[in-house]
């Protein structure tokens, strides 16, 4: 064996090790065998009407859906993102799939044990004996919410936490007022599609001056291989209130692509604060890029009130395609928008993610911290817009976008857009790209630290600014979901 060959082998060994670490087998790939009610494939006006009638919706909502469907037909699928994928056949998707259950479930005891078992396996036990004690959970399985924990306890504080279907029935005034008020159906192609066919999702209402007594969480599970998931989340924080919310997602391994097109709207009134954290671990497809979730999500928060604050933090590790830009519209004077993101791509995953911070009110502030890690043959782009409107006197933004490359076949891009119409404002942008260097690895190894642990330490160190922003309870889960052995390596 010549020297060069030996060196090559060594490098390959190292790269394989990195691969092994970042591509730990997908633990959530199982399918639950459950009888479900599905409607026929494809989308047309009748399907939209059928979904609405299945949910016994009021007329205003049916009209909302029909208008959205009309808009969707007029809109073009966006192609500006740095993503390449086969054309989606929208007529080959099932738009409604629900596990068969009794019509009215009064308590968790009546939920199909198979469903409870599924969430148990995902680490989200729902039954009273086992449920997480400090977090209320809304569990969504395919198109429907199957259970929400701690509802009564939250109601004592006036907090409403339920599925959006229930909210449509019981809190129609709030739905009519706020649904689509942040992301109108005409906003973009995927938001229009969601508005037409959304099946379920979570609803949160925090009344005036209430600090939500526990963290709220939604867990989205795609089970069926041929149906899309189109959930819709709406969070309203009244004056002086605050809430921390976490969203988790997993899906089984199928060799077909499943479409996930969600819409999340947040509304913060005067002095209200919403912290929205996501740990996204949809199935990413296999090493050859077969299968995986197409994740086209529109998330936006509106800081209507003075001194209100909306903070997005996300850990994106899954999906074959990620197209997602959680944004803030800063209207209220001195309102604050934040975006903290870690996006990890491996194999043939593609992510085009970032944020938009739209400064409208005076003295509004925004912070963007984005960390992209690309391994394998993946491609990972940050795309962000900071816009300072003409009225946003004294507005400030700070953006930091860092990329880390693992191996030499991955790609990282940064596309920052800055538009300012207000001379009296400050926009700061910093960006960096690094590669885990052989020298850094050797340094740690030469102190007795195993190769795998050395990589984990560095990745974890790279993400630390963002991990610090995650709610304490979920920071550990984020580590787990990053599929990296990060435990214990960072204090």
């Amino acid at each position: 064996m010549s020297l060069i060959e030996i060196n090559l082998t060594q490098t390959m060994v190292n790269e394989n090790l990195v691969d092994n670490i970042v591509s730990e087998p997908y633990k959530y790939g199982f399918v639950t065998e459950i009888e479900s009610e599905k409607i026929s494939k494809g989308i047309n006006e009748d399907i939209v009407r059928l979904i609405s009638s299945k949910k016994n919706e009021p007329e205003y909502l049916l009209n909302f859906r029909l208008n959205a469907f009309k808009k969707w037909k007029e809109l073009q699928e966006p192609d500006w993102a740095d993503l390449g994928y086969d054309k989606i056949d929208y007529q080959d998707i099932i738009y409604y799939s629900a596990p068969k259950q009794k019509d009215k479930i009064k308590s968790l005891d009546e939920v199909d044990p198979k469903l409870l078992e599924t969430f148990d396996k995902l680490g989200i036990p729902l039954t009273e004996q086992k449920r997480l004690t400090n977090v209320a959970v809304d569990a969504v399985f395919d198109s429907v919410s199957i259970a929400t924990t701690f509802k009564e306890q939250l109601a004592e504080h006036g907090v409403i936490f339920c599925s959006i279907s229930e909210a449509i029935k019981d809190h129609s005034d709030l739905i009519e007022k706020y649904l689509g008020s942040v992301i109108p159906a005409s906003d973009n192609y995927f938001a229009a599609l969601n508005s037409a066919v959304f099946s379920d999702g979570s609803f949160v209402y925090i009344p005036k001056n209430v600090t939500c007594p526990m963290d709220l969480s939604s867990y989205f599970r795609i089970n069926s291989g041929d149906s899309g998931q189109f959930e819709r989340t709406l969070i309203i924080a009244e004056e002086g209130s605050s809430v921390s919310y976490l969203e988790g997602c997993t899906a089984p391994m199928f060799d077909t692509n499943t479409l996930h097109a969600a819409v999340v709207e947040l509304i913060a009134l005067d002095d209200a604060s919403i912290k929205y954290s996501t740990v996204q671990n949809w199935y990413a497809g296999n090493e050859q890029g077969v299968g995986g979730i197409f994740n086209f999500v529109t998330k936006r928060g509106k800081c209507i009130g003075k001194r209100s604050k909306i903070s997005w933090s996300q850990v994106e590790t899954g999906s074959a395609i990620t197209w997602k830009y959680p944004s803030c519209i800063l209207i209220g004077e001195e309102s604050i928008g934040e975006f903290y993101s870690v996006a990890l791509t491996n194999n043939l995953q593609q992510a085009d993610t970032g944020t938009k911070m739209i400064h409208i009110g005076p003295k509004t502030k925004s912070t963007i911290v984005s960390k992209g890690i690309s391994a394998g043959h993946s491609s990972n782009s940050y795309r962000g817009l900071v816009k300072i409107g003409s009225q946003a006197k004294g507005a400030r933004n700070y953006s930091q976008c860092d990329s880390m490359l693992i191996g030499d076949k991955a790609a990282a891009n940064t596309f920052p857009y800055i538009q300012s119409q207000q001379p009296n404002s400050e926009v700061e942008h910093e960006a960096s790209t690094c590669r885990i260097s052989e020298d850094q690895l050797f340094y740690l190894q030469s102190r007795g630290i195993e190769f795998e642990e050395a990589v984990s330490m560095m990745v974890s160190g790279f993400c630390r600014d963002v991990f610090n922003q995650l709610p304490m309870e979920f920071a550990a889960e984020a580590d787990k979901l990053l599929s990296l052995k990060l435990e214990g390596s960072v204090g």
């Binding site: 190292n14 340094y443 190894q445 030469s446 102190r447 007795g448 560095m458 160190g461």
Partner: protein, 261 residues
């Protein structure tokens, strides 16, 4: 005394070592033997192979041993990964310690110390026990505990980086420490702190190799042996007087020596 020394097993034995990188042969037959309790100095011009030798002993993946052997306590270390070499007691003090952003120095030191302790079949230390230990060792290099909470070597001055290296040496208690130009870039005060730290750590059960260009480190730490390296070989070995000679006469004679042979 003489006979006793002969039966003593060397800690580190390098025999007829040839090594290369990218098809370029850098080491051309190095022989060196270090017994416990000894301090050796390796001196020579830039590019003579001193730093390469130290990296090869530590297992840097860019270099390849083509023939010859390195033994630590009679065990051939060639099959060992760098981390296994470190765990079994080899320590390399870097000429240019690497900065690693985001990774806390304290956590790094704890993980490294425990990796070594595990190999030594000692109990691993928890956070509190380790903090006690590290505080004690900080004194050796007169380091402020504030350095522990920073990222590894990030934003450290040249002197601080070198002190951090010696702190690692103090924690890892290596059998054999190779200190690659630990004196470079240090002012005289920093040099004294580093040198006194090394002397405090040195003991009769371990060996030290000092790689240096200059006499000034050897004024602080008197070596038992001085080796002069040129063109990938050790061309002369002597006691500490050899270093003084080099200081006086320079390295030009080594070129002549190479040309002649």
């Amino acid at each position: 005394m003489e006979s006793k020394k002969e039966i003593k097993q060397p800690l580190l034995k390098i025999s007829d070592l040839f090594a290369s990188t990218d098809d370029l042969t850098i080491l051309k037959g190095v022989n060196i033997k270090i017994n416990s309790g000894e301090i050796h100095a390796i001196m020579g011009r830039n590019g003579c192979g001193k730093s390469t030798l130290s990296k090869i002993i530590a297992g840097h993946p860019s270099y390849k041993i083509t023939s010859g052997k390195i033994e630590l306590c009679v065990n051939d270390i060639e099959p060992l990964e760098p981390e296994e070499r470190a765990q079994s007691g080899i320590f390399l003090g870097f000429q240019y310690p690497i900065e690693i952003p985001g990774v806390s120095n304290l956590e790094f030191l704890r993980v490294a110390t425990n990796a070594r302790r595990k190999f030594q079949k000692k109990d691993e230390l928890d956070t509190f026990e380790f903090e006690d230990l590290v505080k004690e060792k900080l004194d050796i290099v007169k380091m402020d505990s504030a350095f522990l909470s920073r990222s590894i070597n990030q934003g450290f001055s040249g002197g601080e980086k070198k002190r951090n290296e010696i702190l690692q040496m103090a924690l890892l208690e290596p059998k054999i420490a190779i200190l690659d130009e630990t004196d470079s870039g240090l002012d005289i005060d920093a040099l004294r702190i580093v040198a006194s730290g090394i002397k405090k750590i040195a003991n009769e059960n371990s060996g030290i190799i000092l790689i240096t260009h200059y006499q000034r480190l050897l004024d602080e730490i008197k070596p038992d042996y001085v080796h002069v390296m040129a063109d990938g070989k050790i061309i002369k070995t002597g006691d500490s007087n050899l270093a003084l000679e080099l200081e006086k006469n320079g390295y030009d004679w080594t070129d002549e020596f190479i040309n002649k042979n």
